[in-house]
């Protein structure tokens, strides 16, 4: 297990948590999640008429005694959940102290740990130009190390494009699940359309918005020529009070738009700004479940 992403004390706190899922998904194996399918759990769901070949152990004999008809008892299936950790690994994620990518990776590690220990299937989908192949869904506590190792190897580079990543992701027709997007969402192509597409494909997006401290609270003073790490664009800024206020106003508008979007669609939106807020943000999301 990679100690750079998860420290033991944190792991102990994580062990008591489960991932918050607002929807129900159909899994591929029995698990701890309520499924959209009827299964073999203890929770009664419905009756139906017996058909030859049905498991006779599920025949409701009490009902037969009363009605003289063979009916089967149906129970809510409890199946596993697939968690897709979609990590922005573009060049912009390399910035911040600590780097935004590090924060995103630690969050992803924590979420993967929770998922794997909770019998969920976990997949990692890094996005950004030239990103590595996604880690296919894996299951079982024994695979935690494998997932963390995969996460640890992710390096920042290239331009971000959530839209392209989601398009490619959906093109593989993955089983609907929890899609946790971890990134700064500073995507010139926009972020609403890809999230809408995920929703339309029965996935449940969760947004972990990662921003660096200096992005949330830029220091005042100085004449700078800011160079965009992804697009190379150059913006000359004199960081006076007016410029800073204008930036913060734009940032607020940006964050408000994301919050408003998430609220309207019933999504979880978690802000992970800077190092200090990392665990609190994660806990707030997990405890909400």
């Amino acid at each position: 297990m990679s100690t750079s992403l998860l420290d033991p004390d944190f792991i102990r706190r994580l062990a008591r948590l489960r991932l918050l899922v607002r929807r129900r998904f159909a899994g591929t194996a029995g698990g701890a999640r309520r499924s959209t399918r009827r299964g073999a759990s203890v929770e009664f769901a419905d009756h139906r008429a017996y058909s030859p070949g049905d498991d006779i152990r599920r025949i409701d004999w009490n009902a037969y005694a009363r009605l003289e008809e063979l009916v089967l008892r149906l129970f809510v299936a409890e199946e596993d959940l697939t968690v897709y950790l979609m990590i922005d690994r573009s060049a912009s994620m390399a910035f911040g102290e600590p780097a935004k990518l590090e924060v995103a990776k630690r969050l992803a590690a924590a979420l993967a740990y929770i998922g794997l220990t909770g019998s969920e299937r976990v997949s990692v989908v890094p996005f950004g130009a030239g990103a590595d192949q996604p880690l296919p869904p894996t299951r079982g506590q024994r695979r935690v190390g494998h997932v963390l190792k995969y996460l640890d190897a992710i390096e920042p580079s290239g331009e971000t494009s959530l839209r392209k990543t989601v398009d490619e992701f959906l093109a593989r027709r993955p089983r609907p699940g929890l899609v946790i997007v971890l990134g700064d969402l500073l995507d010139p192509d926009g972020w609403t359309r890809p999230l809408d597409r995920l929703l339309s494909e029965k996935h449940e997006p969760v947004l972990f918005h990662v921003l660096a401290t200096e992005e949330v609270d830029p220091p005042a003073g100085g004449d700078f020529a800011f160079v965009d790490s992804e697009r190379g664009r150059r913006v000359e800024v004199s960081l006076d009070r007016r410029a800073r206020q204008a930036y913060l106003a734009r940032l607020d508008a940006f964050l408000d738009s994301i919050q408003s979007y998430a609220k309207k669609r019933g999504l979880s939106y978690v802000q992970a700004f800077g190092e200090l807020s990392l665990e609190d943000a994660l806990m707030s999301y997990l405890r909400a479940g």
Partner: protein, 634 residues
């Protein structure tokens, strides 16, 4: 193009800080950040909120630079050719030849020249002065160097068309002479329609000479370029009218040539003639010219008018010619004293002369209330104290003073040196082999020598207030002259000259616009009525009343102490009737191409530059506002 306030061009130096603002970069610390997405949006917000915009769009820089340039140039008062820089002098030479009376549109060329001159006068810079020279056959300074625009405009208004051809070279030389020692930047500006045969040199003067063309549009003009009325030999009161009609234009002209008599109704003859462009057609009409009830012969007016469908005529001044009637019967010739036999023989040989023998005694005994004798007096030897009205000839005078002339001591066998062939009395004559036995040379400040000898003038003439006298300082019978043809020709010319002067009213003929030189005693008021009915007045000084007249063709009625006279003015100049610009401007001995630009009235062009400045400002404001809207929309 020149600048009347060149110091204002210093404002162009504002371009330097402007461009520096654009090219000077603030030293900025370069920093790589994750994304500039939010910063770009924030800066756009900032630019929209700021009262000033960032100096980045290059179109804006261009517009602002143009505004500064246009503003500076406007303040520097750019002026077209002819405007004088500050403190300098401008000599304006205006062509007043007849072709300047041509109309282009509703305006005469000379009026346009005057308007341009007035524009220049009003636009004189501080300390600037302007002079106006009238370029006619003999250039005249109409206004000396003057700063007052009103005075200059008055002088420009007084410019009058002269029928004679303009001597631009002489006018420019006169202006250059007056400009000698003027400050730097002084110049000569010539305004002409360039409808002049020949060339003018613009170099060789200490200051620049600019020639600007007035008008020059293709015009159609028909003109009477020659006219005459000659009596038919042997037919009483019958005459032939001759007219030569020229046409300049792009198409042939159909014209009516009509003859009328002054003061009488109706045409006496008319012809229709077609004249091809650039050609001259002759018209001859036989007419009756009976004298009026007072026995006076009328003046013939020949007028051309376009037939229906012909192009309008650009110069009306050459459409009318007035010619004297060929005579009122015969010319009375009074031989006073004993005229030399050869002279009497020649005079009597003229069928149109009626000869009377008389002497000074009989003339002095004549009743004062009787009508004055009118004709040519030929005195031999003695002359009266006061010359009678009319023309006279004096042969071999005895007295030392003859009609304002001095007769010198007798000289023997003087050699004839020169003779004036241009004088009408000496047409077709030669004194090559003429030898005089004795001569009393004719002298005097008023004398104009016609034939000069080694001892002085043998034949001279003097113009008096009431006539013209030709004096022969020798007796022709004491020379070999009567044996030569030139003797007969001279006396026939003399009679013809007297006849023509008599027919013309006794006032020297002239071309269009020439002032009338009316013989009149000192202090006597002369009244002149122009053909258009305007009345002019002048007072006789030195035996002459000089009356400036407008450039009107026709008969000018003159009244001198109740005695009616008339003067005739016609253009009759083919070159002046050709309105095509053809003057060659020479520089360095070669034709200077493009040196004859068309004059523009608004010579000072700063209002246009200022207009351009305002337009640029509007574009700049529009551009800036549109840019802001686009940013807000984005």
């Amino acid at each position: 193009m020149t600048f009347l306030a060149p110091y204002n061009l210093a404002w162009l130096s504002l371009l330097v800080p402007l461009i520096v603002l654009y090219i000077l970069k603030r030293r900025r610390q370069e920093r790589l950040i994750g994304s500039t997405l939010l910063w770009e949006q924030a800066l756009r917000d900032l630019r929209a909120e700021r009262p000033w915009k960032k100096l980045t769009p290059q179109v804006s820089l261009l517009l602002q630079a143009l505004i500064i340039i246009a503003g500076s140039i406007a303040l520097a008062r750019p002026a077209g050719a002819g405007q004088a820089p500050q403190g300098s002098r401008l000599a304006l030479v205006v062509d007043v030849s007849a072709s300047m009376a041509a109309r282009e549109g509703d305006e005469r060329r000379i009026d346009r020249a005057a308007a341009i001159g007035a524009d220049l006068a009003r636009g004189l810079p501080p300390g600037g002065e302007m002079m106006i020279v009238e370029a006619s056959a003999e250039p005249v300074v109409r206004a000396p160097f003057e700063r007052d625009a009103t005075s200059l405009e008055r002088a420009l208004d007084s410019l009058t068309i002269r029928g004679a051809r303009s001597d631009l070279e002489a006018a420019v030389s006169l202006a250059a002479e007056r400009l000698r020692g003027s400050p730097e930047g002084s110049r000569i500006l010539v305004l002409t329609d360039a409808a002049i045969d020949g060339s003018v040199a613009i170099d060789g003067h200490p200051m620049p000479v600019e020639i600007q063309r007035i008008g020059g549009a293709p015009l159609s003009n028909s003109a009477i370029v020659d006219a005459d009325a000659r009596a038919r030999v042997g037919e009483l009161d019958r005459a032939d009218l001759f007219a030569r009609v020229a046409h300049h234009g792009s198409e042939a002209a159909d014209l009516y040539v009509t003859a009328t008599l002054t003061g009488r109704e109706g045409a006496i003859a008319s012809r229709r003639v077609t004249v091809e462009p650039g050609t001259v057609e002759s018209v001859v009409m036989a007419v009756d010219l009976p004298p009026n009830a007072a026995g006076q012969s009328p003046v013939v007016e020949l007028r051309i008018s376009p037939a229906e469908g012909s192009a309008p005529d650009a110069l009306p001044e050459d459409d009318l010619a007035v010619v004297p009637s060929p005579g009122r019967g015969k010319l009375p010739v009074f031989l006073v004293g004993t005229a030399p036999a050869p002279v009497e023989r020649v005079v009597r040989a003229d069928v149109d002369a009626e000869v009377f023998r008389t002497d000074l005694q009989r003339l002095s005994e004549r009743d004062e209330d009787a009508d004055p004798l009118e004709g040519l007096f030929v005195y031999t030897g003695d002359v009266p104290e006061d010359a009678p009205p009319g023309d006279s000839v004096v042969i071999a005078p005895v007295a030392d003073e003859v009609f304002e002339l001095t007769i010198g001591e007798e000289a023997r066998a003087p050699a004839i040196l020169t003779w004036d062939e241009a004088d009408p009395r000496l047409r077709f004559t030669s004194f090559q082999d003429v030898h005089l036995a004795r001569l009393r040379p004719v002298r005097g400040p008023a004398a104009r020598a016609l034939v000069t000898t080694s001892e002085g003038a043998a034949i001279a003439t003097v113009q008096r207030s009431n006539g013209e006298t030709t004096v022969l300082g020798f007796d022709p019978s004491r020379s070999d002259w009567p044996a030569q043809p030139s003797f007969v020709v001279f006396f026939r010319n003399l009679l013809e000259h007297a006849r023509a002067r008599r027919a013309a009213g006794g006032i020297p003929s002239g071309t269009l616009g020439d002032p009338l030189r009316v013989p009149a005693p000192d202090g006597v008021e002369v009244t002149v009525q122009t053909p258009s009915g305007e009345t002019l007045e002048a007072v006789g000084r030195g035996g002459l009343a000089v009356v400036p007249i407008p450039a009107e063709p026709g008969v000018f009625s003159v009244d001198v102490e109740g005695v009616p006279r008339f003067a005739l003015r016609s253009l009759l100049d083919r070159a002046e009737s050709d309105l095509t610009p053809r003057l060659e401007v020479m520089e360095g001995g070669e034709r200077a191409e493009g040196a004859l630009d068309e004059a523009e009235e608004h010579a000072e062009s700063w209002p246009w530059v200022a207009g351009a400045l305002l337009l640029l400002l509007l574009i700049e404001v529009f551009w800036a506002s549109r840019s802001s809207e686009r940013r807000r929309a984005a």
